[in-house]
């Protein structure tokens, strides 16, 4: 079961089964201690971090660097998808994929948050022209 962990040096928070050995923020070894979800929420609430479509686009552009996939070069498709992703965040709380419907089970629905783990999906895995369900991410040609 995944838990929250806090770096006792810099307050970096990790959510996972095990704490990181090395804190990626302050680089201290064995610095994490388990905390409650309420404590984690307070730490997350310290900073208001709203993300607009431009910032999200920048984030996914950084995300694909060094990966075998890229953001779809079809600008109209990407524009439509980003509109849907942000409408879903505003209306349903998370950046859910506009091409699948949530089940209304939060943990299950986390699998639909963009970017999802599309590399295991039938539309991407073992396909030369693979793409995620919605087509926001496509396999790079150089990886064919």
């Amino acid at each position: 079961m995944r838990k929250f962990w806090r770096c006792h040096v810099c307050n970096d928070v990790h959510f996972g089964i095990h704490p990181p050995e090395l804190c990626p923020t302050c680089k201290v070894l064995n610095a994490y201690v388990e905390i409650s979800s309420a404590e984690a929420q307070k730490i997350f609430g310290m900073t208001e971090s709203k993300m607009d479509t431009i910032e999200f686009r920048n984030a996914i552009d950084r995300f694909v660097v060094g990966n075998e996939f890229q953001v779809n070069p079809d600008k109209n498709k990407v524009k439509t998808l980003l509109e849907g992703i942000f409408n879903n965040e505003n209306n349903h709380g998370m950046k859910y994929c506009p091409c699948r419907l949530i089940a209304k089970n939060f943990e299950e629905d986390l699998k639909l948050v963009c970017p999802c783990n599309f590399r295991i999906h039938e539309t991407y895995q073992n396909k030369k022209e693979g793409e995620c369900w919605c087509g926001l991410f496509i396999r790079r040609k150089s990886y064919e």
Partner: protein, 87 residues
């Protein structure tokens, strides 16, 4: 047809559905699921039928014949949609 307003696959399928309706006279009810909670609940109520045919997901677009429970999902060619609608 369960669809999402900002789902590119659904947008592609709309003129295909228009053509099917025009050529066959079959009426396809279009239910948007991301901006209409009733439609979303209706799609979720068919979860056990839709998911096995749609990669374990409630994908859009999903075409469902409520009389036969025949399901087709995703972006498909006109002929495939026509086969689904007329079989």
């Amino acid at each position: 047809m369960f669809h999402g307003r900002e789902c590119p696959h659904c947008i592609v399928m709309m003129p295909v559905v228009d053509r099917l309706e025009k050529e066959t006279g079959i009426k396809i009810e279009r239910l948007e699921v991301w901006h209409d909670d009733q439609n979303a609940d209706l799609m979720r109520s068919y979860r056990n039928k839709i998911e096995p045919k749609c990669g374990g997901q409630l994908r859009t677009p999903t075409f469902m014949n409520t009389e036969t429970n025949d399901i087709l999902c995703g972006e498909v060619q006109y002929e495939e949609l026509q086969n689904w609608a007329t079989r």
